[in-house]
């Protein structure tokens, strides 16, 4: 495990950069536990102060220190992405494995449901859900709904890997040596599938955070829980651009972009790690 990590860090520039970005982001999120302020309290510090030694990222028109707000926002945003990715991975893994392994009619039924969820545009549905639930649409409800809608694409990927694994020689060997099907799937096949699950985990986090930011910016989420999108929403509400308080936009935008790039780099480096051909190509070059 440690050797794999060291090789990745040495031979894979994407992994090294992505990993460092994510360490910084996680560090900032962890700083929220030492914040001197409560996240929802306002009018604690001087309003609209530009970045300075005292307020590193400045303060906003609601009298909040943007740095400490950002620590909470990043923590909540990451936690949101993590929960969505975790739950939807469980769904896509279960559906992909069953569909790929059992095949036949089960596969056909599952895959038409799967394709249906790929096609349906989620955004109007999420907006409609907010519209109906309003204040009941908490952070956690949104995460559950998005996990319930966001598994389809990766279930298809896992299924296709599963189909190719099923036809390999070692599967037959396992069957003839008397292993039960659940054991073959969990012990023999899962090690091949897990790296893909990890890589899609990052992609799914990006997807869900992107949607959450978008919904929050429009004010369609629980904007009292500080998230990155929520910060931009409040900046818009106070027309921060017009009054020239650029730092209120700049820091949330910068850090959410860094988060996206970090997660994305980790995911593509994971993909390359899975494909041994590109891994060899890379090691040969450096």
């Amino acid at each position: 495990m440690i050797a794999v990590f060291r090789d990745l860090f040495r031979y894979n520039g994407e992994f090294a950069i992505g990993f460092m970005i994510m360490v910084i982001i996680l560090g900032i999120a962890a700083a929220s536990f030492f914040s001197p302020y409560e996240p929802i309290d306002s009018y604690l510090v001087a309003m609209d102060a530009p970045p300075s030694a005292e307020y590193v990222f400045g303060t906003n028109s609601r009298g909040q220190d943007i740095f400490w707000q950002l620590t909470f926002a990043i923590r909540n945003t990451l936690a949101f992405g993590f929960i969505v990715a975790l739950i939807s991975r469980i769904l896509s893994l279960a559906i992909g494995l069953v569909s790929g392994y059992v095949g036949g009619a089960v596969d056909r039924v599952l895959m038409s449901i799967n394709d249906t969820f790929i096609v349906i545009p989620l955004f109007p549905l999420l907006v409609l859900l907010y519209f109906v639930l309003r204040d009941d649409m908490t952070w956690f409800v949104l995460a559950l709904v998005m996990a319930g809608l966001g598994w389809a694409y990766d279930a298809r990927l896992i299924r296709s890997v599963m189909i190719s694994l099923r036809t390999r020689e070692f599967t037959n060997t396992s069957v003839f040596s008397g292993m039960s099907m659940p054991r073959i799937v969990t012990q023999e096949h899962l090690p091949y599938v897990l790296p893909i699950v990890f890589s899609t985990f990052m992609n799914n986090m990006n997807w869900s955070i992107g949607l959450e930011v978008t919904l929050a910016v429009l004010g369609f989420t629980d904007v009292d829980t500080p998230t990155i999108g929520g910060m931009i929403f409040w900046a818009n509400q106070h027309s921060a651009m017009v009054s020239g308080i650029w730092w209120w936009y700049f820091f949330p935008t910068l850090f959410v972009t860094l988060t996206f790039i970090g997660l994305f780099l980790l995911s593509i480096s994971m993909n390359e790690y899975i494909d041994p051909r590109s891994r060899l190509d890379r090691m040969g070059n450096s």
Binding site: V119, I120, L122, P124, L128, D136, I209, G210, M241, F260
Partner: protein
């Protein structure tokens, strides 16, 4: 020909399934509500003072049928489908008494125009540059372009659109910041009007292309770099096929095919992006209409847009699906 008919038949079934599931989810969501949306909406309208009793009754009746509070759930479900089939969502609350279908009808050409142009452009640009980058994998310029595209790809639409908006209307004010055409201009097929529409569509479509191009680029580059090592390519190149022909007709042509399937699968996500883009640039399409409808608490409009969006997106996917076998003859044999 017969196999093509079977193929289309299967696609029609899948299309019907998508619409069925999507609309059913929509129906279920509106029935989760703890408050009575009908009385809530009626009260809101009557406080604004358009209190002709007949129109209020008309509104109440259409809302009752759309959200059907209190009646038998199964009957409500059927009535909901009936309304949808006749595209009758009742009058809009925020633009009372304009029918919802008219508001949507006015907005939808903008969205379809913007989406079609920017999707096709980003698909072609991404695939062609991606294909070249996969074939000439040591080319420095293509590598740098690749890095920029991949850097932009994970950034969400909102951020890209917002940065572009600030850059081109605030810092360097050369492009219009909002609207579909210049204000106080009468729409028509005049040269001036079309020019204004094009000018206003530059920023929204540019932001959609900027974000969209990356995923096509990466997909195509990966596909091409796999195909290049295939035996038939090696054979063709040893047999002296000119390089230009090798790249276009031997390598890229084959790699384009899975990308068409990819296009069908990502239409929904592209639509999500367009909603935001329209909101940021104040573009008069159905994305902005949706956001405005939510802010104005316009129940029928929100429901109408959601249903129409689901049908429109699945129809777009259906169209790509049935065109596909005409481009890839292998589909007819296998499916």
């Amino acid at each position: 020909m017969r196999s093509y008919v079977i193929y289309v038949g299967k696609r029609v079934l899948q299309f019907a399934l998508v619409v069925f599931v999507g609309i059913s989810i929509t129906f279920l969501i509106t029935h989760l509500t703890p408050i009575d949306p009908v009385e809530h909406a009626v009260a809101q309208v009557s406080t604004f003072g358009f209190s002709s009793p007949e129109s209020i009754e008309l509104l109440r009746q259409s809302l009752r049928e759309l959200y059907g509070v209190g009646d038998n759930l199964w009957e409500e479900y059927l009535v909901f489908w009936q309304r949808l089939a006749t595209l009758d969502f009742g009058p809009s609350l925020s633009a009372f008494p304009t029918p919802v279908s008219e508001l949507i009808g006015r907005a939808i050409p903008w969205t379809i125009g913007l989406l079609t142009v920017s999707t096709i452009l980003s698909w072609f640009i991404g695939n062609i540059i991606g294909g070249l980058a996969g074939y000439y994998s040591r080319n420095r310029v293509l590598r740098i372009i690749g890095m920029i595209m991949m850097g932009l790809h994970p950034v969400p639409y909102y951020i890209v659109a917002f940065v572009l908006l600030i850059a081109f209307t605030f810092v360097l004010p050369i492009l219009p910041s909002s609207g579909g055409y210049e204000m106080n201009m009468t729409p028509g097929w005049t040269l001036k009007f079309i020019g204004s529409v094009l000018l206003h569509s530059i920023l929204p479509s540019f932001s959609l292309i900027l974000v969209g191009v990356g995923s096509w680029f990466m997909g195509m580059r990966a596909l091409v770099s796999n195909i290049v090592t295939d035996d038939y390519v090696t054979y063709a190149s040893l047999a002296g096929v000119p390089e230009r022909r090798l790249v276009t007709s031997y390598v890229m042509r084959n790699a384009f095919l899975p990308q068409i399937t990819g296009l069908a699968m990502s239409i929904g996500a592209i639509f999500n992006g367009a909603v935001i883009t329209e909101q940021v640039f104040g573009y008069p399409g159905i994305g902005r209409l949706l956001v405005e409808a939510v802010h104005a608490a316009d129940y029928s409009l929100v429901l109408g847009i959601t249903s129409i969006a689901i049908i429109a997106v699945s129809a777009a996917v259906f169209i790509i699906d049935i065109i596909y076998p005409l481009i890839d003859p292998r589909v007819q044999v296998t499916q």
